[in-house]
Each structure stands twice: as structure tokens, then as C-alpha cells.
């Protein structure tokens, strides 16, 4: 059973994410796309925001999460027990987000709200690929 409170928290947290992305667009003229900004901050991309701007956004992410945990108490996070699962998933996410020019934030939030054909396609595809992967892992008995 889904706790209705978790859906309300999801909606409120989502609105915060949207307001943050709106601030980035209207305030700094940039897309709040985490994969692109992370690559830029790490010096792995030549195009995109100046490195200082990208780094400032990326540093803000854990600061914001830390602030919530300090105010609301411990945040529940259930990670896979195997570091290998995280490393394999992370590596594929790294290649895919750069090749596909975006992730859940850049395509899913900023692009879909702009009705960008590329972002609509990318979002439908990565959602379908994610569902297929989790379902396949369930059938193969390798879910965590």
C-alpha cells in the first residue's frame, strides 16, 4: 500500500525541483540539467555553462539534501548492498546521459515542460528502458 503522505511529499518536493529549475532558467539563463552540469563541473565537457556556474549548482545539490535531513531528521535511503551494482549502474548512466544529452532533469523536467521533441522522445525512451530493466532483473532473480 502506498502511503498518501508520500504522494503529497512527492508533489511538494517536485514543485521545489520545478521552482529550482525555473530559477536557473530565468535567473541565470541556463537549463538545470544535472548530467550536463556535472560533466561541465568535472571538466568532462567542453560545451555548456562556465565551470564556476556548473560547480556551484552541483555543490548545491548535496547541500540542499543535507539541509532537509538536518531539519526533518533522517532521510530514508535504501541502497543496493553491492557496490558493484552501483558502479555498473553509474557507469552506464554516465555514458547514456552524455550520449543522449540529458537525464531526468534536463530532458524530463526542463525539456518536457518546453515540449521539446527530443526531450519528449528521450523521456519516453529512458522511462521504458528503466521499466524493462527493473522488470527483467525481477524475472532473472537479480533484483535487490
Amino acid at each position: 500500500m502506498i502511503d498518501p503522505a508520500s504522494l503529497v511529499h512527492g508533489l511538494i518536493g517536485g514543485l521545489m525541483i520545478g521552482v529550482a529549475a525555473a530559477a536557473m532558467l530565468l535567473g541565470a539563463g541556463r537549463i538545470a540539467g544535472v548530467s550536463g552540469l556535472a560533466a561541465r563541473a568535472a571538466g568532462i565537457s567542453d560545451a555548456g555553462a562556465p565551470r564556476l556556474i556548473a560547480a556551484a549548482f552541483v555543490i548545491g545539490l548535496p547541500l540542499g539534501a543535507w539541509l532537509v535531513s538536518a531539519v526533518l531528521g533522517r532521510i530514508e535511503t535504501r541502497f543496493p548492498s553491492s557496490i558493484l551494482t552501483l558502479a555498473v549502474g553509474g557507469f552506464i548512466v554516465g555514458i547514456g546521459t552524455r550520449l543522449g544529452s540529458g537525464c531526468t532533469s534536463g530532458h524530463g523536467v526542463c525539456g518536457v515542460s518546453r515540449l521539446s521533441p527530443r526531450s519528449l522522445a528521450a523521456t519516453a525512451i529512458f522511462m521504458a528502458a528503466g521499466i524493462t530493466t527493473v522488470t527483467a532483473m525481477r524475472w532473472l532473480g537479480v533484483s535487490w
Binding site: 521545489m16 539563463g29 545539490l61 547514456g96 543522449g100
Partner: protein, 153 residues
């Protein structure tokens, strides 16, 4: 100018990270539960997406009336509209990795403050994947990264 834009970016990242934590999307198991349609499905991620898209629909309308952002010299926005193999292949790979780990880049980085060790494993591997993609694409001209268009006031 860059320093003022960086301040805006820091605030945006902060609210973004806080939103991820409030929404529960910093929990990889919750994200996977959304993708687990054959299991105990959790619709929360859809509520997060709708919540995030609503302010951005308004923001795009405001943006259309502006010559320039509050800070900075212009809007730097993606200008490509062709759905090519690069986009499709990248989105497929991203979805697969997302399903395996239950993390996408935003929550992965935000979790560095919540669960440093497992989050770092994800983030370091992600940066490794980004680097491998860059080396691979620099040898293949048709895989070159699309450029952003700058609308300068």
C-alpha cells in the same frame, strides 16, 4: 557577472537538492519501485515529475517575454530538434543504468550528503562513464555533442 550567475546556480542547486530529499527521490529503492510495474508499484515519481513540470511550464512562458535572464548576458538553450541515433541510444543506456542502480545523476549527487560511501561509488562510476563517452565521441565525428544556441540581448 559569472559570480552572480554562480550564486543563482548555487541557490537553484540547493532548492533542487532539498526538493529531491523532500520528495523521497533520494531513496534508490523508491525510484526503482516506480519502475517496478510488475511488482509493488509506487507512483510517487510521477507526482514528483508533475510537480516539477508545472512551475517550468510557467517559467517557459515568462522566458518568452524576457530579453535576457535576471543575471547573465543571454539564454543558453539547446537548439537541436532532430531525434537521432545518438539521442535514442543514449536514452536507452541511461534508462538501463537508472533501473540497475535506482539512481539518476541528481539524486546520486544529492545523496553524497546523506549516504556518502554508496553515493560516491555511483557518482565516481558515472563520471567514469562520462569520460569514456567523451573519449569515444572525440574519435567519432557524428557522435559530437550538439551545441547550445545563445540568444543574446
Amino acid at each position: 557577472m559569472v559570480a552572480r550567475s554562480a550564486t543563482v546556480a548555487l541557490l537553484s542547486g540547493l532548492i533542487f537538492g532539498a526538493g529531491l530529499a523532500v520528495s523521497g527521490m533520494t531513496d534508490p529503492a523508491r525510484v526503482r519501485a516506480f519502475l517496478d510495474v510488475a511488482g509493488d508499484w509506487d507512483p510517487t515519481l510521477a507526482f514528483v515529475m508533475v510537480g516539477a513540470i508545472l512551475p517550468m511550464i510557467v517559467a517557459w512562458r515568462i522566458k518568452a517575454r524576457l530579453d535576457r535572464p535576471l543575471v547573465g548576458n543571454g539564454f543558453h538553450l539547446p537548439a537541436t530538434s532532430t531525434i537521432d541515433r545518438r539521442l535514442v541510444g543514449g536514452a536507452v543506456l541511461f534508462g538501463v543504468g537508472w533501473g540497475i542502480a535506482g539512481l539518476c545523476p541528481g539524486p546520486g549527487i544529492a545523496d553524497l550528503a546523506v549516504r556518502p560511501l554508496p553515493a560516491a561509488a555511483f557518482v565516481v562510476a558515472m563520471l567514469g562513464g562520462m569520460l569514456v563517452n567523451r573519449l569515444n565521441c572525440s574519435r567519432t565525428p557524428e557522435l559530437k555533442e550538439p551545441k547550445h544556441a545563445v540568444q543574446q540581448a
